[in-house]
């Protein structure tokens, strides 16, 4: 399977930003500072379980569920 990480990251950003373009940008920045660069993932990225665990942890830190 592929693409789950990208979908999770998009979900985090969209849920946190709630349509606000400024927050969308700063949430992306916060993810990169946490060591998760959204630009490194796309629909073909493999569903690496280690990274999925990391994304779930970051989502929890940011107070959103994915």
């Amino acid at each position: 399977m592929a693409g789950q990480i990208k979908r999770m990251i998009n979900s985090i950003i969209q849920k946190r930003a709630k349509g606000n373009p400024v927050i969308l940008e700063t949430t992306t920045c916060k993810l990169i500072l946490k060591g998760l660069d959204p630009a490194l993932f796309n629909e073909r990225s493999p569903d690496d379980p280690t990274i999925i665990v990391k994304v779930l942890a970051i989502a929890a830190e940011l107070g959103v569920s994915v």
Binding site: I23, K30, L33, K34, E61
Partner: protein, 366 residues
């Protein structure tokens, strides 16, 4: 009354009388006060609060100060924020930050004060200031937790101690703290801007931090080679010569085209210790320093062209200040901030979304 700024190089208590005399507003809503480590922090905090009993009086110790038109040393500077600019303000102290940044209580305090969750506040009218012990090594954790909890921006700097590297302080309303952070939430009905500026450009080389000791802010290996060896190769010098190039060639985590600067501090065996943390696997671009005065002047001139600057706080890295001092350009840098009320200080690190080095973060009041 509009925002005003003041400075004094006198000793206590004359310095406070001096500042009070320069304040156009008898009881400003808030007073931001930065002072050299030559001043006793507890005495300064007590005397400032006694001089402005109705105001929220906050600040920290420094490694150099800035006021409108001047860079200073061994002085105290103050920015007096009027009630029209700052409609409301709430302050929380986070103590023992070296043991972890517990910001929950601080946010509870903000929510009590503003009668609303911080997450619901208008991010165009509310902004946070953060002043933090510059020797705690806790800034990354603190900024991450602030960013997790809030979309309101927090901007600020790490307190200094005139390059003694012994103890730094933050203060609020008559008390002084070490190993602590001060979080200040301001409601600014006229709006504000946050500026993040660094005078560096990429030289087109990338180093991947392949082995790190994150809590120690240490990179052990770049690209699976001893860190100093890989860094030296990237800038074209020997490993022995490399430390002399640290200020000229910091590294940058690139985010949306902007470097978040990570400055090397020293070599430990073949590892490199930095002034902020780098996560394992992070790719950092090798930067080269550019003209601080020209770059900062361009940033401020652009903001002036966009509208009147009611006031400004500059949190400028001590490494930038040291470069300006070595180039004898402090007067030129100070002159950038002439013509409007401004204060600032030379920091041990700058805060905006995260913790960074060799940067100026600024809060500009409209």
């Amino acid at each position: 009354m509009p925002i005003t700024s003041a400075y004094s190089t006198k000793a206590l208590p004359a310095a406070i009388t001096d500042l009070k005399a320069q304040s156009a507003d008898a009881q400003p809503r808030a007073v931001i006060c930065f002072a050299s480590a030559k001043y006793d922090p507890s005495a300064l905090s007590q005397q400032m609060k006694a001089a402005f009993p109705q105001s929220c009086v906050i600040g920290c110790s420094t490694a150099g100060e800035l006021t409108s038109g001047k860079m200073l040393q061994e002085s105290v500077v103050a920015l007096f924020l009027d009630a029209q600019t700052v409609e409301d303000v709430s302050v929380a102290v986070v103590e023992n930050i070296s043991e972890g940044s517990r910001v929950r209580e601080a946010f509870a305090e903000f929510e009590r004060h503003f009668h609303a969750p911080v997450s619901s506040l208008d991010i165009q009218k509310h902004v946070g200031l953060v002043l933090v012990d510059g020797l705690s090594g806790a800034e990354e954790g603190l900024m991450e937790k602030l960013g997790d909890r809030a979309d309101v921006f927090f901007v600020g700097g790490s307190a200094g101690d005139d390059l003694k590297f012994q103890r730094t302080h933050v203060w609020v309303d008559g008390k002084a703290y070490t190993n602590a952070a001060l979080l200040v939430l301001l409601r600014l009905p006229n709006g504000f801007e946050i500026i993040k500026t660094q005078s560096c450009r990429s030289i087109g080389k990338v180093l991947e931090a392949s082995q790190v000791d994150e809590p120690q802010r240490k990179i052990i290996q770049f690209d699976h080679k001893p860190a100093i060896q890989a860094y030296a190769e990237a800038i074209g010098v020997s490993a022995g010569e490399a430390p002399a190039h640290f200020m000229q060639h910091p590294l940058g985590l690139m985010i949306q085209g902007e470097p978040y600067v990570r400055s090397p501090q020293r070599v430990e065996d073949e590892a490199m210790r930095f002034y902020c943390q780098v996560r394992e696997g992070t790719k950092l671009e090798v930067l080269e320093a550019t003209d601080i005065v020209a770059d900062t002047r361009a940033v401020i001139e652009a903001r002036k062209a966009a509208g009147r600057i009611a006031g400004l706080i500059d949190f400028g890295c001590i490494l930038r200040t040291l470069q300006l001092r070595s180039e004898e350009r402090c007067d030129q840098y100070g002159a950038i901030f002439a013509g409007f009320p401004a204060v600032g200080f030379s920091t041990y690190g700058e805060e905006y979304l995260g913790h960074m080095n060799q940067t100026s973060t600024m809060l500009l009041f409209r």
